[in-house]
C-alpha cells in the first residue's frame, strides 16, 4: 500500500501536543467557529457539516455527553481509516479531545471495526501514552475543569453498525439497527445523551484545521467541498492505495495519479456509491458532484458490469439489517432481477419496474443503507444498459 508523497492536510506535519495545547487556549465557540469557517464536512460519507454537528451537541441539554469515533470502516473498498488508526492514532485521539472540549463531553468511545481487532493493542498503548502525557484524563494539559477519557469498544462485524444510530444501538447492547430520526444523536444519542459521532478522518482533519487555520484548509478543494480528503483506491489500476487528494479532483486526474487511465468505469463511494462510466470521467469528486466517503474502485475494460452490480447487490442483501420493507426485500428483489438479466430472462418492462423500485428504496428506506443500496444498480443499468441487457436478453 502506498501513500501519496504530497502532504496536503492530513499527512502534513503536526506537533500533536502543541496543537492540542494551542486549541485548549481558545474558547469553545472559537473552535467551533474555526471549523465552521473551514467548511469541513463529515468524512464518513454523509458529508454533514462538522461544525453544525458539534454546535448542536454543544447546545443540547444533557448531564453527560459523548464523543464517539466511528472506526467501523466497512464500506467495500475503504481502508483509509485503517491507515489513520495505524499511523496517526495520536492525532485521532487529540482530535477527539478537541471535539470533547468543544461540546463539553467527558466520555469518548472508539467503535472499532471487528476486523481491526489486531489494532486494539497499539491503540490502547497510544491511549495510555497520552494519559501519561496528560492529553487524556483530568485537567488535560493543565486546563482546569476539563477532563476526558477514551475507551475502545469492538464492533460486531456488521456493516450496518457503521451507521451512527445503529452503532449507538449496538453500543447499548441491542441488535445493530438504525433508529428513527429525528431525534438525531446530537440531542438523543448514546444512553439517551447528546452524542457526536464522527469519522476517524473528521477528527484528525479538524485538529489540523484548528491548529493551522480555516483559511489554510480552504486553499485546497472547491468552494463547496473544501480541503483535501483521503481516498482508498482499489481495483484495476497500477498503484492502489491510500491517497490524499484535494476535493474536487476530476476522476480523470485521479486515474492518472493511480495509473488507471484505461478504466471502463469507476465506482465512487463504494457499494453505496455511484458507478461513473468513462464518458463522465470529467466529473469532480466532491459533495456537489460525485461524493464519496473515500472509496474509489477502478473497473478495467475487461470487467463484466453485470457481475459488478451483482456483487454489490449481494453485499447489500447480506448487510441490510432487515428492519424495513424496502431495503429488506428490495435488495433481494433487485438481486433476483440481476440474476434474471444474467440469464437473459429479464424483460424490459420488468427492468423498468425494478428501476422504479430502486427509486422507492432510495426514497422510503429508513436509513442510508437502503437509501443507497440501489445506487450502483441504477447507475449501472443507466450507463451500461446495452452491455447488461441488449447483449444478453432474448426477449427484447
Amino acid at each position: 500500500m502506498s501513500k501519496t508523497e504530497k502532504k496536503l492536510v492530513i499527512f502534513s506535519d503536526l506537533d500533536v501536543e502543541k496543537a492540542l495545547k494551542n486549541a485548549l487556549q481558545k474558547s469553545r465557540p472559537d473552535i467551533i467557529g474555526e471549523v465552521r469557517d473551514s467548511g469541513l464536512k463529515g468524512r464518513g460519507g454523509a458529508g454533514f457539516p462538522t461544525a453544525v454537528k458539534w454546535n448542536l451537541a454543544a447546545a443540547a441539554q444533557g448531564e453527560r455527553k459523548f464523543v464517539i469515533c466511528n472506526a467501523d470502516e466497512g464500506e467495500p473498498g475503504t481502508f483509509k481509516d485503517r491507515v489513520l488508526l495505524t499511523d496517526y492514532a495520536d492525532q485521532l485521539i487529540a482530535g477527539m479531545v478537541l471535539a470533547a472540549y468543544a461540546i463539553g463531553s467527558k466520555d469518548g468511545i472508539i467503535y472499532l471495526r471487528a476486523e481491526y481487532t489486531y489494532l486494539r493493542k497499539d491503540l490502547e498503548a497510544t491511549i495510555e501514552k497520552m494519559r501519561g502525557k496528560k492529553m487524556l484524563g483530568k485537567r488535560i494539559l493543565g486546563k482546569d475543569g476539563f477532563e476526558f477519557d477514551v475507551h475502545i469498544h469492538m464492533g460486531s462485524g456488521a456493516y450496518i453498525c457503521g451507521e451512527e444510530t445503529a452503532l449507538i444501538e449496538s453500543l447499548e447492547g441491542h441488535r445493530g439497527e438504525p433508529r428513527n430520526r429525528p431525534p438525531f444523536p446530537v440531542t438523543v444519542g448514546y444512553l439517551g445523551c447528546p452524542t457526536s459521532v464522527n469519522n476517524v478522518e473528521t477528527f484528525i482533519t479538524a485538529l489540523h484545521i484548528v491548529e493551522k487555520g480555516a483559511k489554510w484548509f480552504k486553499t485546497f478543494g472547491t468552494e463547496k467541498s473544501t480541503g483535501s480528503k483521503l481516498f482508498s483506491v482499489s481495483g484495476d489500476c497500477e498503484k492502489p492505495g491510500v491517497y490524499e487528494l484535494p476535493m474536487g479532483i476530476t476522476i480523470k486526474k485521479l486515474l492518472e495519479t493511480v495509473g488507471g487511465e484505461d478504466a471502463k468505469a469507476v465506482q465512487v463511494g463504494g457499494a453505496s456509491g455511484t458507478c461513473v462510466p468513462r464518458k463522465d470521467f470529467d466529473r469532480a469528486i466532491a459533495y456537489e458532484d460525485v461524493s464519496t466517503g473515500g472509496s474509489i474502485i477502478v473497473f478495467g475494460q475487461q470487467r463484466d458490469m453485470l457481475q459488478v452490480a451483482i456483487n454489490f447487490m449481494e453485499f447489500f442483501c447480506e448487510e441490510s439489517c432487515g428492519q424495513c420493507t424496502p431495503c429488506r426485500l428490495g435488495t433481494e428483489t433487485l438481486l433476483e432481477g440481476l440474476d434474471l438479466l444474467d440469464e437473459g430472462k429479464c424483460s424490459l418492462k420488468h427492468l423498468r419496474e425494478l428501476c422504479s423500485l430502486g427509486e422507492t428504496m432510495q426514497l422510503s428506506s429508513k436509513c442510508g443503507l437502503g437509501q443507497s443500496a440501489p445506487n450502483a444498480f441504477l447507475s449501472i443499468v443507466e450507463n451500461f444498459k446495452s452491455e447488461i441487457f441488449d447483449t444478453r436478453c432474448s426477449c427484447r
Partner: protein, 646 residues
C-alpha cells in the same frame, strides 16, 4: 441477544426495551413558547403541539395515512414504510408514524411519489406472504388485505410465493404461529417485550432472511410464553391466532351421547358484538345466550357465578392469612396475589417463582366452574360427568393452557374440556347463520346462572379487587359496604392507570358470620382488624405487574400490601388475547364502560348476596369457604417453573 438494558426504572435485565425507540417529548402545555407548530397537510393548515407525529397531526385533520407496523399501544417502530409521506424540502420520504413535528412544515400524503412507494412496499411484503384469504381467520379483518385493496394490488409485481417456507408452530395450547403469513412488522415483538415484558419473541437474522422467532427458535409451547395472546390481538395479519377448538366443540354438540355445557365469562359479552359490526362497548349478554343455545349448547351458564364463588373463597383465604399473621402470630406469605389470570400465574411461575406462596390457592372462576359442573351439577342433573363436555367462553387465550394443566382434574375428569375465545364463538355463531345483534333475548340457565354485579366486573382491571372489597369490607366491619363506599363504587381501583394503590382504614369490627366460623378457627369477631389499614394494589399487563414485583423484591411500599390484583392483559380481561381484533385504548375503555353500566342493572352487586352461593355452601360445599371440600375442588397449587430453558 444479550439483554443489557438496565435503564428501566425498576431495573431488571430480563427483557430489553425494544431497540427501536426514538421519541421527542410532546409539548404538554399549549401556551408555552414554541409549544404549537404550524403544519400544512395536503393544503389543510393546523397547529399541533411540538413533537406530535405527522400521523397524529393528520388524524386531527381526518386525513387517513395508512399504517401497518404502527399500533397505538406500542412503541414506534417505523419499519413497514407504508405510512411514508412527502415533506417539502426533504430529499427522502418520511415515515409519518415516526416523524415528530418540531418545526413548521408542508406535507403531502398522497403524491405520486408517495403512492408509488406505498404500492411498492406492499408488493414487496406480498412477495413472501403465503396465505389464502378465504382460508384465513383474518379474512375481512386483515390490515394487509385491506391495504392491498386500498392500493389496488391487482397482480404481484415482484412475484408471490405459493409454497410455505415455515412449518406452522402448533406446540402451544394457546397460540398458533404461522410465519408464512408474517410480514415482519414486529408488532408481536414489541408487544411481548415492551407491553408485556415477557420477551419470548425477537427478530433474528438480517436482510431478506430476517425472521420473527422465539428464543432459540424453540416451539412456542416450550418457551416462557405466558399465553396471554396480546401478540395475536396486535398482529395485523393472520400469522398469529389462537388454538381454535371449534371443530371439536361442534363434534361434541352433534354427539347425542354428550351433554355440552358452556359457561361464559364476563368479558366476551361486552365485546363479541364487535365481530358483528356493533360499536365497541355494546353489551349483548342476552342475545348471546340465545345464540349459544341455537348453536346447540345444552346449558348456558354464567361464569360470573364462580366469580362470586371465587370472591367467597379468596376473601376467606385473605382473612385466614390475616388471622394467622395477627392473631396466631404465624409466618404467612403476604401480600396475597389473585390467581384468576392464568397468564399472570404462568408469568409468576416463570419469573418470580420465589413468590409462589403469595398466590391465592383459589382456582380461577373458569376452573372452579369446571369442577362444579362435573360434580355438583352432574349430581343434581343426574348426568354422569364422563358424558359432560364443558366449554368455557373466555376473552383469553391463556385459558386454553389453563384448562390443560394436568392438575386441573379434581372432578375426576378434565374439569374444563375446551377454552373458546370470543372470536371463535363469533365464528361459530356466523357458521350457524345467526344474526347475533338481532336475536331475541334469553336468560342464563339455572341453577348456576345466577350472578351478581361483583362477578360481572371481574372483566375490568380492578374489578376483582372491587368485588373482593365489597364483600370483605362488609364481613369484617359488619357495616354495609355502601355505607363506606358511596353507591358501592370503589373508584380508586378502577381506571387504566398501570398500577393502582389504595388504603382502607377498618372503622369497625363485625362478628364472624357463621359460614366463616370454621375457616377462622372459631374466632368470634374481627376486632383484631379494627383500626388496621388494609393496603391493596392493582396491576394490569405483565409489564405493570413486573413493576410491582420488583418493588416488592426491593422491599418498597407494595411489599406492605395485603392483597394485590394482577391481570396479565392490559385493561384486564376485557383486553384479553381472545377478544375481537382490533384493540386500542379507546376500544378497551368502551368495553369497560359497558360492563360497569350493565352491573348497575343487576339485582345485587355483592358476591355474598348471591342466593346460589348460599345454596352451594349449604347443599354441597358444606364445610364452608376454604373448607375441606372446597379445597379439593376449588383450590389448586402451582409450579416453580423458572425462566431457564435448557
Amino acid at each position: 441477544m444479550p439483554n443489557k438494558d438496565k435503564s428501566t426504572k425498576f431495573g431488571s435485565d430480563r427483557a430489553p426495551a425494544s431497540s427501536v425507540v426514538a421519541s421527542v417529548e410532546v409539548a404538554k402545555n399549549e401556551k408555552d413558547l414554541g409549544a404549537m407548530v404550524a403544519v400544512s397537510i395536503d393544503g389543510n393548515e393546523i397547529k399541533v403541539p411540538f413533537g406530535t407525529t405527522i400521523l397524529d397531526a393528520a388524524k386531527k385533520l381526518n386525513i387517513k395515512i395508512p399504517t401497518l407496523c404502527h399500533h397505538e399501544d406500542l412503541k414506534v417502530a417505523g419499519v413497514c414504510r407504508v405510512c411514508v409521506v412527502e415533506v417539502e424540502g426533504q430529499r427522502t420520504l418520511q415515515a409519518a408514524c415516526a416523524y415528530p413535528i418540531t418545526s413548521p412544515m408542508t406535507i403531502k400524503t398522497y403524491s405520486s411519489k408517495v403512492r408509488k412507494a406505498r404500492r411498492h412496499n406492499l408488493d414487496l411484503m406480498l412477495k413472501h406472504h403465503v396465505g389464502e384469504c378465504y382460508s384465513c381467520f383474518r379474512n375481512n379483518n386483515c390490515e394487509l388485505q385491506s391495504l392491498a385493496k386500498e392500493y389496488g394490488v391487482d397482480f404481484y409485481r415482484f412475484g408471490h410465493d405459493t409454497e410455505p417456507h415455515h412449518e406452522i408452530d402448533r406446540s402451544s395450547y394457546s397460540v398458533v404461529r404461522d410465519m408464512n403469513k408474517c410480514i415482519q412488522c414486529r408488532r408481536c415483538v414489541r408487544t411481548c417485550i415492551d407491553l408485556q415484558e415477557v420477551g419470548v419473541l425477537e427478530a433474528v437474522n438480517r436482510g431478506p432472511d430476517l425472521d420473527i422467532a422465539t428464543f432459540a427458535d424453540m416451539p412456542l409451547g416450550e418457551v416462557v410464553c405466558i399465553n396471554c395472546g396480546q401478540c395475536i390481538n396486535r398482529c395485523p395479519t393472520g400469522a398469529l391466532r389462537a388454538n381454535d377448538p371449534s371443530d371439536e366443540i361442534w363434534a361434541a354438540i352433534e354427539d347425542p351421547s354428550k351433554h355440552v355445557v358452556i359457561q361464559t365469562a364476563p368479558s366476551p359479552r361486552a365485546a363479541i358484538g364487535e365481530c358483528f359490526g356493533l360499536p365497541a362497548g355494546t353489551s349483548v349478554t342476552r342475545e348471546l345466550n340465545t345464540a349459544m343455545r341455537r348453536c346447540g349448547f345444552d346449558k348456558v351458564f354464567d361464569t360470573n357465578f364462580t366469580a362470586d364463588l371465587t370472591i367467597m373463597e379468596e376473601a376467606t383465604e385473605l382473612l385466614i392469612r390475616l388471622k394467622k399473621a395477627l392473631v396466631d402470630k404465624e409466618q404467612v406469605a403476604f401480600p396475597q396475589f389473585t390467581s384468576c389470570s392464568p397468564g399472570w400465574v404462568k408469568y409468576l411461575e416463570h419469573f418470580y417463582p420465589e413468590y409462589i406462596d403469595c398466590l391465592s390457592s383459589c382456582k380461577s372462576p373458569q376452573q372452579m366452574f369446571g369442577s362444579i359442573i362435573k360434580t355438583w351439577y352432574a349430581e343434581t342433573a343426574g348426568i354422569h360427568p364422563k358424558d359432560i363436555v364443558t366449554v368455557a367462553l373466555m376473552p383469553c387465550s391463556a385459558k386454553k393452557f389453563e384448562c390443560n394443566r394436568p392438575e386441573m382434574q379434581d372432578s375426576g375428569y378434565k374439569d374444563v374440556d375446551y377454552g373458546l375465545t370470543s372470536r371463535e364463538l363469533a365464528q361459530m355463531i356466523q357458521e350457524a347463520g345467526l344474526d347475533l345483534p338481532n336475536l331475541p333475548h334469553s336468560d342464563f340457565d339455572d341453577p348456576i346462572g345466577e350472578a351478581t354485579g361483583a362477578g360481572l366486573i371481574f372483566g375490568a382491571t380492578g374489578g376483582v379487587m372491587e368485588a373482593a372489597l365489597r364483600t370483605a369490607v362488609e364481613i369484617v366491619t359488619g357495616v354495609k359496604t355502601e355505607k363506606i363506599f358511596e353507591n358501592l363504587d370503589i373508584i380508586p381501583v378502577r381506571g387504566f392507570e398501570g398500577v393502582k394503590y389504595m388504603e382502607i382504614k377498618v372503622p369497625a369490627a363485625g362478628p364472624v358470620p357463621p359460614i366463616l366460623s370454621k375457616a377462622l378457627g372459631g374466632l368470634k369477631d374481627f376486632s383484631f382488624l379494627k383500626g388496621a389499614t388494609l393496603k391493596v394494589a392493582v396491576a394490569h399487563g405483565t409489564a405493570n405487574a413486573k413493576k410491582i414485583m420488583e418493588d416488592i423484591k426491593a422491599g418498597g411500599k407494595f411489599s406492605e400490601c395485603h392483597f394485590i390484583e394482577f391481570m396479565a392483559c392490559p385493561g384486564g380481561c376485557l383486553g384479553g388475547g381472545g377478544q375481537p381484533i382490533p384493540t386500542s385504548p379507546e376500544i378497551r375503555e368502551a368495553r369497560t364502560r359497558a360492563i360497569y353500566a350493565e352491573e348497575k342493572t343487576l339485582y345485587s352487586r355483592k358476591s355474598h348476596e348471591n342466593p346460589t352461593i348460599d345454596r352451594i355452601y349449604k347443599e354441597f360445599l358444606n364445610d364452608g369457604p376454604c373448607g375441606h371440600k372446597s379445597h379439593k375442588l376449588l383450590h389448586t397449587h402451582y409450579i416453580k417453573r423458572g425462566n431457564k430453558i435448557v
